[in-house]
């Protein structure tokens, strides 16, 4: 009988299936290397190119000498660090307190407040910044003009075009909201028995917080600080709008201005970008190490201790948190909306002060219509492509034993650390300098790739963690029942994962609509998206027009997020 088995060499069929899997894995592997590693590599390579003309590579260290000695270049890096410390030094304590209040006290309308922070996270930071420009512009900002009406005040006290103005715009953007969203569940999930054991052992509430809760939260806090630092290096558009009027550059806006000047200084931009990457790399390794370890130390508990009673402080604390969350969401949006329907913002007493003329002119502008179309194509394309790519990456990392999957895992982490603008720069090199790909430059395809790459880490992580929870036995049961690997993937894995895939698709749609940094360098006049023309209008000072576009972007990103949430998708971020 054994001969019969030999006559049908059973291994061959298995190895053919194995081959199909290997082929797919190889394709995915090469694609991610091409999309993620290769652009980053090119940035480093081109920093050594001192050739004057394009297409010829001439080795030299001139750009590095420039980047390391020019005071404005070094100043940009110092400014990045100063902003990072200032913004997160303020945001973290505020976020910790708010998260604790939301998670552990009897503050009223807890869920409503949390929902507002969630909205704040999804608001495009450019739109929020626009709202604050309306209020805090030194010339005609509404807060300044209001204060100028007071006697003896000739000059408004606020200036958004300043270091602290930028800090303010970031706090109002998602620096606080992101941390609150990450910290609240962590506070909530601390196993109540840890706290109760401490209380029973004789420690008071304060002592318990200091000696049990805070140390138990430490890993989570450090992870969030690291994450904030990495994300801070990615900030771009707020500084691009608010910085140049007072000659203030951070390293990403410096890279951008080096490339957008005539003639572009690619080598210098690359040298600066490489420096930035070198600064981020240690952070990503630390972050990865921490997040891997955290899998074993997550604090989970079904039981909750009784919430802390705030007593007479309940109302004041509620009002305080409400004010903060309104400053993050409704207040800037109100001024954006107001600007969009005023002939000139702040001039309430002129004839026809309120008008829909901005709306009408924007909606009849071919450039706007083209940008809307571009945005829809890009966001939809990014949503679809990312789901396919990320689910394959996740599957290969979680469920196969290919040696190279460790490299795949690492590559999928890189985009989290590398600022979107730099990926844009890298992709620009790939598509401009490689003859084979040059025809694709100037197409929407390039923008889709850029936004897919920028959302790779988060998307892959979400699918990965869900696949891990899926449990191998569901797939094994299908194999035993007689299904091959590919049948199992199509009929068992994918259908179960559908809600998660939908979630990732929608999140990438939203991310793409408001993305500025990753597409700023690669979009051409024909492929500009709404977020990019909004940026153009803001840089040109056409705030009323920018306001109209801004509201459309908010509608397409935050609006879609709210609709998806109504349909039950748990859109959000998990650490």
């Amino acid at each position: 009988m054994a001969e019969i088995a030999l006559a049908h060499p059973s291994g061959s069929r298995a190895s053919r299936l194995f081959e199909l899997r290997t082929v797919l894995f190889t394709i995915v592997m090469l694609l991610t290397i091409f999309l993620v590693l290769y652009p980053v590599l090119l940035i480093a390579v081109y920093s050594f190119d001192v050739g004057e003309s394009r297409g010829t590579f001439e080795f030299g260290l001139g750009s590095w000498r420039y980047a390391l000695s020019d005071p404005t270049m070094l100043g940009a890096i110092v400014n990045s660090l100063k902003l990072l410390v200032s913004i997160h030094g303020i945001a973290l304590p505020i976020a910790v307190v708010i998260a604790w209040v939301l998670a552990r006290t009897d503050i009223p309308y807890r869920h409503g407040l949390e929902f507002m922070f969630w909205i704040s996270f999804f608001l495009p930071s450019l739109s929020v910044t626009l709202g604050w420009i309306m209020c805090l512009d030194p010339e005609y900002g509404l807060f300044n003009t209001a204060i100028k009406m007071l006697p003896f005040v000739d000059e408004g006290p606020f200036n958004i075009y300043s270091f602290w103005g930028i800090v303010w715009a970031h706090l109002g953007g998602n620096s606080i909201a992101l941390k609150v969203m990450l910290l609240t569940p962590t506070f909530r999930n601390i196993d109540a028995s840890l706290e109760e054991a401490s209380r029973v052992a004789g420690a008071g509430r304060t002592k318990t917080v200091l000696r049990i809760i805070v140390p138990a939260m430490m890993p989570a806090l450090i992870a969030i600080i690291l994450m904030a630092m990495i994300r801070a290096m990615q900030s771009f558009e707020v500084e691009l709008v608010l910085g140049p009027p007072f000659q203030f550059y951070i390293y990403s806006t410096m890279v951008y201005s080096l490339i957008s000047q005539e003639p572009p200084r690619f080598a210098a931009a690359s040298a600066l970008a490489t420096l930035g990457l070198a600064a981020i790399l240690p952070l990503i390794f630390m972050q990865r190490k921490l997040s891997l370890r955290r899998q074993y130390t997550t604090l989970t508990g079904k039981l909750q201790t009784q919430p802390v009673r705030l007593g007479i402080w309940r109302l004041p604390i509620f009002l305080g948190v409400l004010l903060i969350v309104l400053l993050l969401t409704v207040i800037p949006l109100i001024f954006v909306a107001l600007a969009s329907v005023m002939k000139l913002l702040g001039f309430f007493h002129i004839e026809d002060a309120y008008t829909f003329s901005h709306w009408i002119s924007v909606f009849s502008d071919p450039m706007f219509l083209n940008a809307t179309w571009n945005t829809l194509i890009m966001a939809t394309g990014a949503g679809l492509f990312s789901v396919v790519l990320f689910s394959l990456i996740a599957y290969f990392i979680v469920r196969t034993k290919f040696r190279a999957r460790a490299l795949l895992d690492f590559i999928s982490w890189l985009p989290f650390a590398v600022p979107g603008l730099l990926f844009g720069l890298g992709l620009l090199y790939v598509f401009l300098e490689t003859p084979f790909f040059r025809p694709l430059y100037g197409s929407m395809f390039l923008l889709i790739l850029a936004t897919v790459v920028s959302s790779m880490t988060l998307g892959t992580q979400i699918i990965k963690s869900n696949m891990m929870q899926l449990g191998q036995e569901l797939e094994e049961a299908s194999r035993i029942a007689g299904a091959s690997w590919i049948t199992t993937f199509v009929r068992v894995v994918l259908p179960i994962m559908i809600p998660v895939l939908l979630l990732v698709g929608v999140m990438n749609f939203i991310g793409a609509t408001r993305d500025v940094a990753s597409v700023a360098l690669i979009a051409t006049a024909q492929t500009k998206t709404l977020a990019l023309i909004q940026l153009d209008y803001m840089v040109d000072g056409r705030y009323e027009t920018a306001a109209v576009v801004s509201l459309v972007v908010v509608f397409m990103s935050t609006g879609v997020a709210i609709v998806a949430r109504l349909f039950g998708l748990r859109i959000g971020i998990r650490n």
Binding site: A5, L17, E476, A477, S478, R479, I480, G482, A483, R491
Partner: protein, 365 residues
Amino acid sequence: MAQSIIEIRGVSKSFGNVSVLRDVNFSIAKGEVFTLLGPSGCGKSTTLRIIAGLEDATAGEVILNGRTVYSSDKRINLPPEKRNMGMVFQSYAIWPHMTVAENVAYPLTLRKLSRAVIAERVMAALRLVDLEAQADRDAPKLSGGQQQRVALARALVYEPEVLLLDEPLSNLDVKLREQMRYELKVLQERLGLTLIYVTHDQAEALSLSNRIALMSQGQVEQIGVPDELYDRPKTEFVRDFLGKTVTIPGRVGAAEGGSARIALGNGAGDLLWTPPPGVAIPAPGSEIKIAIRPERIALSATKAGRENCLAGKIETVLYQGDRTECAVRVGNDLITIYGPPEARTMRDQNVTLVLAPEALTLWPK
């Protein structure tokens, strides 16, 4: 023995230097319930998964119905979907995106049967596990016990040659587990199923199995019918894994006919031991341990003056409803025995322990 349906020959598995299975051999007859029993980490689940094709062995052969499905030497490795086995997983592995009927129909659709045949066989399988009424419900909405039945129906519906069960009852509560154990036995006998059953629960193994392979640290310690393992364990591991054992150190004394007198090391007296056929009496003076199951020790209030009686004093009594568990001081040793419920109030009383002579076994010290 009847024709064997599964044969495992010299199966080993190791990860680098760590060996998880060492030279496992057994064969299973058609219609047999064969249990792989052992503590967690002993390799029983790995053995089952190698039979299923979910894991590869490092060496050895798996032969199903005369056909080699795995052989490391001949480089044969049939994928799980080609082995036509059924399997019930510990987590049940019910696919959450399908209804009960769809779950059960899945293996049949893969076999490209006609819709009418599938419908008929699905209902028949559900009838078997008493779940006809739940056919159109979403599978995740069922209770644990019902999911267990769906998993069973799904594994049986395509009439596999062998049914593999990996700790199938361990996620159920005690009452349900006992009921399912009973139903599984009835079903197996009615359909003449061949089962390979993995469990760490000795009561489950003893009550369900025709034969048991007790495993420890990647090796088979002993294979046999349940009472053989329980009454005539070959190793101390088997003896101590199945049930409780009382051991008392002693020394072999003079032979008396076919028996030997054992002087107990605790100074409580001596016992007469008769070796089973084919077993030799150790040389006089050998240091040994004498062992007996606690349920083979009777509690007597009066000194009977017979052979194999030991005087003792009850120190602790744990009342358990249908019986008591008494810790009795015999010489220097504390021996745990099972007493009648009435022994509940007998703390500090002097008693006599009567040890059944045929239940005594001798072990090296």
